[in-house]
């Protein structure tokens, strides 16, 4: 696991604590750590070097050396520099009508999926998109686009008999005109930037269809090569923007910085999941935190909001206020939290915790708690007070646990209820609000404490 930049800097600056301020010499050490952190996040060597230089100048200008907490100050400057570098340029698409968008990229970067996702997004914005299948090489690529088009209710133009890609593009524009579509998305075959024949082909397609946007679709986990890929595609087809895919993984995404720095093309969209609506406009601040390993609280909150039904959450908060919280509710809460992902992935999004290992113990404990509750009858879940010795024994038996485990859970549950009662005068409401959201979504059941 990577250490977060904050930790690395912490180590580099530890010796300074007593002195209380940075010297130019120590600053050099700290910047070396910054460089290593950037390289570990797949930022290109040259880009990293130039970036560190920029940070150094910036630090000198802002008198960091005299600051009380130089480490944090440095991190802040780096973060600000990153955000400004990543965020230059607009994420808006061109205003043309019809809007023609050409998607290009390496094999397996996610062009076909992105075409469908972008089509869906444009449809949501009130456009009428048409997808054109220009990948005539990969087996079943046309089938894949047609399938996605059907799923999203978007028309697809394809010609299985043609080997002439520019002609397919031209026919696609005609088809769009006929169908009254005002956005045309061209999905192309994956190609290496050094494959001269295929690059020639996409150049011809570009000349033929005269796109308003040329987007390079790139895997967010790309390595050092990202720079050459972006540079070559930019020279060949003059990119207008970048789309980063598979950002639902845990790649640091330093390639984003490299590609942005080298081509100057703005990053316009990011792909964040397998579903067609897992697609978002680019947020430079989130990307910066990610590259620096500073956690991604915003994404966590968003994920929580996505997977928790607002209405249900309201209801839960009501129940909590009245303290008539039972095991059925408890189970529902646990499942909400599970929907957010594994404990490890949740914790990874918290600032400063990205390197923290969550043992399987915590996960096991959670599983055990769920098993115990599921071994209860509905009546028992609704009214835990009826749980006498023999019922507890049965539950322990049914869930493969010991009676002491069941007792422990009941005790924790009792404490929780007591706490809720105490909080009844408005305190709870305040607490829930502080947890981000009007509902009970932020509440952590005691089983999670491991």
């Amino acid at each position: 696991m990577f250490e977060s930049l904050t930790e690395r800097l912490g180590t580099a600056l530890r010796n300074l604590r007593g002195v209380g301020r940075l010297t130019e010499e120590n600053m050099a050490d700290a910047l070396k750590e910054v460089r290593t952190a950037l390289l570990s996040a797949d930022v290109h060597f040259k880009v990293a070097r130039e970036f560190v230089e920029r940070v150094r100048l910036s630090c000198e200008g802002q008198e960091v050396l005299k600051s009380v907490t130089p480490g944090q100050q440095v991190v802040k400057i780096i973060n600000d520099e990153l955000v400004s570098l990543l965020g230059e340029g607009t994420t808006e698409l061109a205003q043309a009508r019809p809007l023609k968008i050409l998607l290009v990229g390496l094999h397996g970067s996610g062009k076909t999926t992105t075409t469908a996702k972008l089509g869906r997004l444009l449809a949501k914005r009130g456009k009428k998109p048409l997808l054109v299948a220009c990948d005539i090489y990969r087996p079943a690529a046309i089938d894949q686009l047609e399938f996605l088009g059907r799923q999203e209710n978007l028309p697809v133009h394809a010609d299985r008999s043609s080997r002439d890609v520019p002609a397919i593009g031209r026919a696609g524009i005609a088809a769009a005109k006929e169908a009254g579509c005002d956005a045309i998305l061209f999905d192309t075959a994956g190609r290496l930037q050094i494959d001269t024949d295929l690059i020639e082909e996409v150049k011809r397609l570009r000349r033929e269809v005269q796109p308003d946007e040329v987007l390079l679709v790139a895997d967010g986990a790309l390595g050092q090569e990202a720079v050459n890929v972006a540079k070559a595609f930019n020279e060949a087809v003059q990119l207008t923007g970048l789309v980063l895919t598979k950002l639902d993984g845990d790649a640091r995404g330093g390639a984003a910085l490299s590609m942005k720095a080298i081509t100057g093309c703005p990053i316009k969209f990011v792909g964040t999941g397998e579903k067609t609506d897992d697609f978002d406009v680019f947020h430079p601040d989130r990307m910066a935190s990610r590259i620096l390993g500073m956690g991604d609280v915003v994404s966590l909150v968003e994920r929580a909001q996505e997977s928790i039904d607002q209405h249900e959450a309201e209801k839960m908060a009501q129940k909590m206020r009245k303290a008539d919280f039972n095991f059925e509710d408890f189970l529902a809460q646990m499942r909400h939290i599970k929907k957010l992902g594994s404990m490890e992935s949740i914790i990874g999004m918290l600032p400063g915790m990205s390197g923290l290992k969550v043992g399987d113990e915590a996960e096991d404990k959670l599983k055990q708690t769920e098993a115990i509750i599921q071994s209860m009858t509905r009546q028992e879940r609704l009214n835990p007070n009826i749980l006498n010795g023999s019922r507890r024994q049965r539950i322990a038996h049914g869930s493969g646990t010991r009676v002491s485990d069941v007792n422990q859970l009941l005790k924790q549950f009792g404490q929780m209820r007591k706490m809720m009662k105490k909080m009844r005068g408005g305190g709870m409401r305040k607490m829930m609000r502080a947890m981000g959201g009007g509902g009970g979504g932020g509440m952590v059941p005691p089983g999670m404490r491991g």
Partner: protein, 311 residues
């Protein structure tokens, strides 16, 4: 053997040309200086070996340079090659047939790493070695993934067992094993849906495929191979780590090594996890999947002419 090495080298030519373009000049220098060592450092970092490996190589070169300021580029290349060769000493591996037939090979990996194409190429390679592979199209999730493998199977004339889109992948794997047994295939290649290693539920689904296959043969799958895209950076190590933890890997297949990326991530994966590299993908043709040769990889990377292996 000789031809194998040549093909490997030819396939790698494109990928290594780039490192050589940059370093060739350096490695060709009669005498190194501070600036050329700096350039060398850049090229090494550009190869995705990971910061530790790149730093280790450059540190050795610097140490040698301090001792011998007249050191030439060739020596620097040899130092780098020695470090890598040492790291990759145990990195080669082969697919030995299992005691009970069919030998089951499961291909797993993230989306777009090249599993389906690799499944077809691997079938081709196995047939060339005299085996009778059966393909199991267990990517029932991605739109048209089954069609993609079917097209390959038709093109290369392989038998294929496939389920419906949206079917239970584990059930398809189970049926495919039964079919392989009945029809006398000695290898079963299971193509699975791409999944990011961070998706807990999808990773759990992989476990199900393993459990269901084990019902047929407790030792199956005999080889669980992670398919990794050579153009990815440090994250491929994280991918490998999580897949290894959750699914138990036996090795790695590195694809798209014909690009300009140096595929240095395979060094990082092997260094971190000790998993062998079974195959590398060197092009788009069916025969472009080749067994990994550490010597050839290192020699090509550093532009060292390598003594021919006796046949």
């Amino acid at each position: 053997m000789l031809s194998l090495f040549k093909r490997f080298k030819d396939g790698l030519t494109r990928s290594t040309r780039n490192l050589l373009d940059r370093t060739g000049r350096l490695f060709g220098l009669k005498k190194l200086d501070a600036a050329s060592i700096e350039d060398l450092e850049e090229a090494l970092h550009g190869a995705d070996f990971g910061v530790e490996t790149a730093d280790a190589i450059i540190t050795e070169i610097r140490t040698a340079y301090r001792k011998n300021p007249d050191m030439g580029g060739k020596q620097a290349a040899e130092i780098g090659a020695a470090v890598l060769r040492d790291l990759l000493r145990t990195a080669e591996a082969s697919l030995a047939p299992a005691a009970t037939s069919p030998t089951v090979v499961c291909l797993v990996g993230i989306n777009g790493s090249g599993k389906t194409t690799t499944a077809a190429k691997l079938a081709h390679l196995l047939r060339a070695a005299g085996h009778r592979p059966l393909l199991a199209a267990c990517d029932t999730f991605r739109a048209a993934a089954i069609d993609q493998l079917r097209t390959w199977a038709e093109r290369l004339d392989f038998e294929l067992v496939a389920g419906q889109h949206g079917a239970d992948a584990a059930a398809v794997a189970f049926d495919a094993w039964q079919a392989a047994r009945k029809r006398g295939h000695d290898f079963l290649l299971v193509d699975t849906a791409g999944r990011l290693h961070t998706k807990t539920n999808l990773m759990a689904e992989l476990g199900k495929i393993r459990r269901v296959l084990a019902k047929n043969d407790p030792a199956a799958p005999h080889y669980s191979l992670l398919v990794v895209d050579a153009s990815l950076g440090t994250n491929s190590v994280d991918q490998a780590r999580v897949f290894h933890q959750q699914f138990g890997l036996d090795g790695i297949i590195v694809t798209k090594l014909d690009g300009t990326s140096r595929g240095g991530a395979l060094v990082a994966i092997h260094r971190e996890l000790g998993l062998p590299i079974h195959f590398v993908g060197l092009g788009e043709q069916a025969e472009d999947l080749q067994p990994f040769s550490a010597d050839a990889f290192v020699a090509a990377l550093f532009g060292l002419e390598r003594e021919e292996i006796p046949a």
